[in-house]
Every structure is written in C-alpha cells, then in structure tokens.
Symmetry: D2
C-alpha cells in the first residue's frame, strides 16, 4: 500500500443536522484508526475549528452511535468563518496539531466554506453530503434523505387515518426549501392526490382540476403534499384558496416541520453514511482534496466541490408523471 | 343467563377520531354476535342515523381492523341531530329495523347527543369514551390516549435530536384544547424543561426562571411542551416573548397537529377498546342505559352520561410537581 | 420539611433488563439531587456493590437517557452476593463511603437479595419493579411491561401480514416464564385465535376445537400466541401436534425472543419509571425500608419485599374470557 | 400514442410475500385504468389462474393499500401449475375472458413458471421482482428488501440494548437462504462484530479471531449477524462452537424469522413498487414479454426472464471489507 497523503485528520458536522451524520462520523473515525491515521472530532462545525474545540477520537469514542439521530459533534452556522480572520484562526489551530486533512459532513454551505478554506490555506478536505433535502449533485442520495422520507411518510400515513375518518382535505407541508424530493417521494408513497414542488410550475387551476377529478373518481378525502419551497404560495394560502373554490370542503393544514430532521437513521442511511465516511478517509489518503465523496450506482465517486455546489440533483420527470397517473 | 334487555343494536363513532375506535367497534360487533344479538354499523355518526346509513355487521365484517387507525365507520359532526326533527328521523330509522340499543363511541359531545336522544325517545344507549384528550370522567384512560402519548413522545424525541445538535430551544405544541394530559405526560417522558397546560396558571416569569435555571444547570438545549389550550398565549406568542427575553436563544416552534390522532393503536389502547366494546354490549343486555362504560382500576364501571359530561378527569398535581423536579 | 432518614444513597439495576430502567435511574438521581442527597450509581448490580464499582452521579450524568433502552449501569447475576462473605464486602463498601440508603431496580430475585442484605446489615433499601413480565405483586404495572407489549404486538402484526397472505397458522412464542401477561394482552391486541398461558390448564383438545371453530367461521389464517412458560408443551410440540391433527395446515413457528427486552421505552413506561424513581427516594428519606415502590390506581404505594416476592399479580379472568369471545 | 399490444390484463402475486406487493398491485391496476386497459386481479397466484379466481379491479379496488403489508391477492405455491394440464386450465381461463397480458409479482420461481407459460401458450407476461432477499438479477433492489432491512435492523437494535446491558454475545439469524444481502447490510447498520453469509467462505477460526480482537479492543458485548443460508453451520452450531472456545461468554441466539416479511413498506419500497407496477403495464402495452421490469440506476429496464432467473445480484465485496473495518 502506498503511503497516505495525510497523517492526522479532523472531522466535523456543519449546517442542518441529518440522521446518519453520527454513522458517517463513526465510519470516519474507525477507518482512520484502521489505517493508523490520527483523528480529531471538532465540535459545532466551523466554530469549533476557530475556537479550538477538538477532541481526539478513537474507535471506542464512537461506539453505539451508529443508530443515534442528530450529531454528537453538534453543528452550528459560523459567521466568523466567513471572515478571513476566522479562517486564519482555524488554520492556525490545525497547524498547531499537525492536522493535514479535513472531513466535513454537511451540505452546500458547508462545502462552500471548505472550498474557500482549501484554496486559501491548502488544507486537504473531503466533504460528505449530509442533508435530508437530497439536492446535492454528485451522489444518488444524501445522508438523511431516506430517513426523512420514511419519517414524512409515516406522519402522512397517520394524517391519512384522520382524513379518511372525517372526509377531509389535508394540505401537508414537508421540508425542501429548494427541492421537491421529499415532497415527491413521500407524496407518491402516501397516495397524495397532488404534489406541489418548487421545480414545477403549478397553478391553482390545476389543483382545482385535480380536486374535481378526485371527486368524480369517488374519493371522499384527499391529501396534498406541498414542499416548503413551493412557489405558488404558502400552505395557508393554498388552503384558503381551496376553501374559496370548494366551500364544502373540510380543509386542514399540517406542517411536519423538524421531526423530519430527527430520529434514528434508516438502514439505507446508516450503510450510505458508513460507505461515505470510509470513502472520505481513503480519498484524503489518496491525496484527493476539494471534493465530495458520493455514491452513484453503487460506486464511490468524488465530485469537485465546485460542481457539487453549482449543480443540483434533478427531480425525475417520470416520477412526476407517475404521481399523477397513480393518484386517480 | 337472563334474557337480554336488547335484541338488535347499532353502533357508531362520532366526534374526533381516535386510534382504537376500530378495536372498540370490533369488540362491540363480536360480543353482540357471541350473545346472538343482531348488530348494525352506522356510518358517519349521527348523520348516518338520520340518513339511514346502516350496514349489518358480523364477526367477519370487522376482521383485521383491530390495528387500523381512524374509524372504518367514519365520523362526522351533525348539525341536524341537534334539531328535534333530525333526532325524530334517526328514531324512525331505528324503529323501522327494530333496533332497541345503541353503542356510541366518542367524547363529551357524542354523549350529550346520546343523552338527549335517550331522554326523548327512550332508546337504550351506552357510550364508549374514544378521544385522545383523556379528559372524560368515569374512566382511567380514554381510547386513543395512550397511542397519542406515544406518537407525541416519538415526535418530540425526534425534535430533541435536532435541538441538541444545534443548541436550540423548541416550543412544541401538542393536542389538548381543554386538558393538559398529553402535554404533561409526553413532556415528562421527553424530559421537557417546562410544560404549559391549561389547568395551571402559568406565567412568563416562571418560564423565564426555568430557562435561567436550565442554563445554570448546564443545559444547552431545551424543549418546552405546550398544550393547545394553554391560556398564557399561543405557542408563537410564547416563542416571541422568549426571544425578547433571551435574544441569544435560537428558538423554533413545532406544532405536532393531526399526526396525534392517527396511527395504529398501542397494545394498551387495543385491549382497553376491546374491554369497553364488550362492556358496552353486556351493559345494554343488562338493561343499562344513559351510561358510559369505562375502566377504573382494572374494573369495568358504568358512569351516568350526566356525570361523564359534567365532570372531568383531573390532572394529577403530583405529576406536575414531579415534572419540575426531574427537569433539573 | 423533616430531616431525611438518608444522606447518601446508591442505585443499581439487577436481573433481566427492561426498557425504562434508565428512566427510573434518571428519576432516582435527579430526585436525590433535588433533595440534596448524594447519589452513587453502582455498575452491574450486586457485583458492583461487591467489587466497589461506584460512580458519583448528578443531574447531568443522566441526561438524554430517559428514552434509552437497556440500562447504562448494566446488570448481572451475582453468585457472590448469595454468600455471606460477598454481602459483607458489599456492606463494607457502603460503609466506606457513608452510603446509608439503597435503591435497587429489578425483579423478584433482586428484591430477595435486598431483603437479606437489609436484614443482615440494616442498610435501608427500597426496590423498584423493573421487569417486562409484570408478575410482581404491589404495582399495577412493572417498568418495561408496556413497552414489551407494544414490541410483541408490532412483531405479531407483521407476522399477521404474512400469515394472511399465505393462509397460514402461526404459533408465536412471547416472553413470560411464569406469567402470561404478555401473551394474554398481546394476543388480544393482535386478534389471536388462541392464547396459551401457564396460569390456565390448556389442552390439545381445546386447541383443536378452537381451530375447528375458526375454520367454520371462515378464517383462513390464524395466530396462536403462546407464553414461554406454557405447560402444555413447547411451541414446537404444539406445532407438531397440530400438524398431526390438521395435516393440511401450513404451520409456522416464531419465537420473538430478546427483542421484547429492548427498545426505547413507551410513554407509559417512562412516566411510570419516573414516578417510581421519585417514590423510591422519598421513601428512603421518610425512613422506609425493605419495601418496593409501586403504582396502584395512580397512587404511590410501598409493599413489603416479603409480600412483593411471595405474592404475584394475577391474570384477570375476565380478560381470558374476553379473548375467547373476541376471537370468533 | 401507439396502440397497445394488450387489451385486458391480469395481475397476481406469487411465492413468498414481501412488503410493497400491494403497492405494486395498486400501480398495475391504476396504470392499466389510466390507459383504458381492463385489469383483473387473480387470487393466490398460479392457483387462482387455474381455479378461475379472478376479480375485476379498478382504481377504487386498490385504495388505501399502498401502505399495507402482505398481499391482498394472497399468494401460494402451486404444484398443479407445474403440470401441463394445470397450465392448460389456466390458459383456458384467460382465453375465456380475453385476457392477453399478465403481470406476475414474485421471485425466481414465479418467473420460471411465467416463462414456461409464455413459451407454451404465447400469453404476454411481464414480471415484477417482489422478494425481501434482493437476489434477483436485473434490478438494483427488489420490492420488500428495503423494508426487511429496516425491520431486521430495528430488531437487532433492540437486541443490542439487552446485549450491552448484560455483556452478552448474541448470534442473530436473519433471512436469506441463498443470499447475504439482508445479513450484510443489517449487520453493517447495527455495528455487528461479524457477519456470516453464504457468499463467503467463513471459518470458525476467523470467527474466534474476531472475538479475540473485539475483546482486546475493549468490547464487552457483541452481535454476530448470520444469514439463514450460512454454510458454516446453523446458528445453534455456531453458538455451541463459540461456547466451547470461549466458556466465559454469555451467549444467546435470536432468530428474527417471519417478522422480516411483514410490516408496512418503507417509502423506498412504495416508490419502487409504484414504478415497477407502472413499468410492467407500459411494457406489456409496448409488446414486451417474457421479461422482468426492474430499476437500475434510476432507469426502468427490462431483463429477459431467462437472465433474471439464471444470474443473481452479487454481494458487493467492498461492503464486506467495509464491515470488517468498521467493526473495530
């Protein structure tokens, strides 16, 4: 085996938390240990780099965390890291310990920070995509996405019980400020009569038409799943407009909110996180930097941060079409 | 065995749905069948009585529903039943079929309707308490309450993951317009730093003091569970006031909403519903009427509707005290 | 407030683990802290007392454990504590630290050890019933029982899916070596066609009759829930005998096993554990000893160990009868 | 749009049931309805074809089944379909109704029957891979696999609680007679110390070495996940051999069994089943036959039955290696 390009690494989680971040952390720490690379955990993302909040981690530091939601390293947004001074402090802390490689677990914002840091100071860095939104280019799925889908689906299944019992129409908002992945997939999985996502130009007329068709088809209750970032209006606007168009409807609104970020990760997320944690470390060892580790068609791939940040996973148009056909 | 006081009965669900209503329905139908009493299911509560929406039900009509959320008979509020004319129509439908006993599954409002109906027309009726709020006098627990507690708790556990990861303060609203049972118990079960319920006079000062104590104790994140009917203000008001008092806090609001009404009933709810369904039928057979079947200290008891409607289950003051001690 | 009868206490878990033991531990530690009583955790039950494995615990030592399955203090059976010499060592360790009160969380065996220890050395001790079997006298429910019921029920619900899809008969073994509580309640909750428990004299003839009735009633698949301690035979014996009697049946056996001991505790178990943990500490403070804290009809009660060990919770005969009526 | 190659189709489920079969059925029925193709459901697999057990199905026949475990059409093994006479009867029933296309949901055995049937009688047929084992070539995942993974993982998580509390070694058997997919992935997801699968030549020496390393690493409890089809020996043999080698170990065995086949399908399985149900129908419409619909890298692909039956999905060697690295 060739010599590793890094000797000591640090790992941190940043941005919104996602289920499976702990599993990724565990994989980073244990892979590093396997290859005799020293590993530090940094608390609260970029803030910890700046504030020198490092702990040395070994295999036992991450025991029994593979199934834990959230992130034991905690996460935070860091204004200071957006300044050159902040980044300099962070760099000095790395130098002080001889840390020559970084693994950052997070999303777009996290990678943007890492890219700048790498360009300024040359510290090798590999990113791991951890976000429930699944909108990061360079990986089929992001860590946390599969768990969030199941959480959203289970919540909507529960809402379905009460919708059916009372012949009601529910508008259910799921997470996804810029992306409709959660909405589209959880909507298909729960038989939503309509799914509104930011990637598609929706209209109230289309929505009304859907309701009319549903009525004709004999449906007595309906669920409309709406992504947080839907452009047609807030979920309250939509409910209000619908009430105006269909005064007889008994309409309710539900916002699933932060439950979608928590919970024990699904098997798929734990395995994905394990693979990417491993991939990040062997990537650093092989001298890779400024890249994100991802899984595509079951293969470990490394995508330059630049691309991962600029491009976005696209909603599958076939799925959109499918959702309409199956909602009849 | 003595002769039954009823020969044909009908059963319906009314008011807000609750997990376990189907289990109660199944028990009513099968107990009736066991005792050779004919049984009809009525759709959509009192509306079905008025609109003559009856189906004959036997043991196989209720197969595999013991674990189903919602109510297969559906539920509805009925304005027409509040009129004498409406009730007369309902009565005529019963007479037409020779139905001489009713089982109604629901809450306060349901029992109020049943009481009036019984007083006007003399039809024997027994109620079964089905509501997640647990505020009905005459039974230790109402059907659906235990399930709702677990649903709320699991959701708050998920929120805890993200609260901890980000050092945040979450205000979480749970159901309970008039009663704090869900808030108090789910709050204790999730280690809430404070629990706000309509039964207690809360104040912003007390809340702030709690936050100060929590900070001093070294807590970096907190969850406050708030009952829907909390009198101090809406959850948004509380969050806003807290932000004013603690500008550094990263505060979030979550409203659990209708997921609390749905889902497959817990074991305790299925068993309770089975016992009360049975109890309602043998109560009718024994000539009881205008009463609610309940379980108290593991005994089947019948409480006059009048009492069940007027009185309310009281929050246990010891639990309130306990919640404060354990939140340190 | 009167002076406390104890100044320093120790707490440990012993015997089979049960979900909610951590919640009880948390309540003991925090209640002690609230009343300014020093508190030590002892690892691995009586072994830890003997081997001097104590840790001082404060409110933060038990943070975020209310929802954790198992017991962070671990548990073990101790042969050495059955000897006078072992108990003497344990006592010396308590004396050394000035510990004058003990809280033990466990079952019959745990309380027996505590009773002897108290009688020999006079150390005050209060027990908390933690076992999934629910067979301890002096409390309506033991800690872990409600969770185990839900775990068993959810597993049997899953088995029901495949039983129904294939017209199969399943024998499902649930825990309960001496008691049929889990079998009876999970059996009712899952619509088992028959429930076999050690408390009742069952016969193969009765079982066969049940199958014949089920066939006549049009059932195409069946689940029989069997308690571990059933006296009629092992679950394999029962399956074999049934196959001999009904050669056409497609029979399967499932043993739920240790999954029933694990998992995050239910809301009811977390609240119960919290109350009993509190109750144990205030019991000790009030000078009580050689007693078990329990909840009966929502009241905190203390039952002498002697009684708690000798007597047993009895299966409710009405429930047994109900299970037959509802299985039609 | 071109004219469809089929006018009336029938759909059935066959072989072992898997979560998501109902979602696939729903998609078949609704897609057919969307394209104005008549659709029949056949009960109990090939037996239903022979015994003329058909029901006409429309969009409402499949309402609210997307989340239901098992298969509402039921499944069965058919000896009669293995005879030419049996298949002739089945063909006659199709002719009688003018059915010119078939969708079969199942595994290897199901497709083998379909292939022969197609070759003999020329009826167009498309298969949908529904099995929890994931060992079918031509699709990244089979329907039910993701759900089974989560079910197995959650069960093992629970076992972990009790293993940790008691310093025990657990051998846990998961499904997979010929394939180690469930074992490998659920083992990684639960931090199993070792994973034994039929695809790899395991040895007792390797297993013992693993235990020795685990001990040295300071692990006090361990879980070994074993696939049903492991060739080194039954799970009881393995436990016995381990006890002989490590007499101090407190060893337990758990067989997860049929719970892995049941339960409400995960979001991934519901979406996959929806896509494949749709894919099967448009495949038939486009004149395809003797092929299985699958998803590969997010694309709908059709694999000849011959290939789907002969070849098998291969275990990813990288995952095996990863499982060892992360278990340190």
């Amino acid at each position: 085996m060739e010599e590793s390009a890094v000797k000591k690494i640090a790992v941190f989680t940043s941005g919104g938390d996602a289920p499976g971040m702990n599993a990724a952390l565990r994989a980073v720490v244990r892979t590093a240990s396997h290859f005799k690379i020293e590993c530090y955990g940094v608390r609260e993302g970029y803030n910890g780099l700046i504030n020198d909040d490092f702990t040395k981690m070994g295999p036992r530091s991450v025991k029994n965390i593979i199934g834990a939601g959230g992130t034991i390293l905690r996460s935070a947004r860091s204004l200071e890291f957006k300044t050159k001074e902040g980044r300099k402090k962070a760099y000095d802390n790395l130098v002080k310990r001889g840390i020559d490689g970084l693994v950052c677990i997070g999303g777009d914002g996290t990678f943007t920070g890492a890219k700048i840091f790498n360009e300024e100071f040359g510290v090798k860095v590999i990113g791991i995509p951890g976000t429930i939104d699944n909108d990061i280019f360079g990986t089929d799925n992001t860590i946390g996405y599969d768990t969030a889908l199941n959480t959203a689906m289970e919540a909507i299944d529960k809402i379905r019980d009460t919708a059916t019992s009372h012949n009601r129409v529910f508008f259910v908002e799921v997470m996804g400020r810029d992306a409709g992945f959660i909405a589209l997939n959880s909507g298909i999985a729960t038989g939503a009569v309509d799914i509104l996502i930011p990637e598609r130009k929706d209209s109230i007329d289309d929505l009304f038409e859907t309701f009319e068709k549903a009525e004709k088809a004999g449906k007595t209750s309906s669920i409309v799943v709406v992504a947080e970032g839907e452009k047609l209006g807030s979920i309250y606007d939509l409910a209000k407009a619908t009430k105006a168009g269909f005064p007889d409807y008994d309409i309710r609104v539900a916002i699933l909110g932060h439950i979608q970020r928590g919970g024990s990760p699904s098997c798929a997320d734990r395995v994905l996180a394990s693979r990417l944690g491993y991939g990040a470390v062997i990537g650093l060892m092989a001298g890779k930097t400024n890249k994100m580790a991802g899984m595509q068609s079951n293969n470990l791939v490394y995508t330059p941060f630049e691309e991962a940040i600029k491009k976005h996973n696209e909603i599958d148009q076939n799925l959109l079409k499918l959702s309409e056909i199956l909602a009849i």
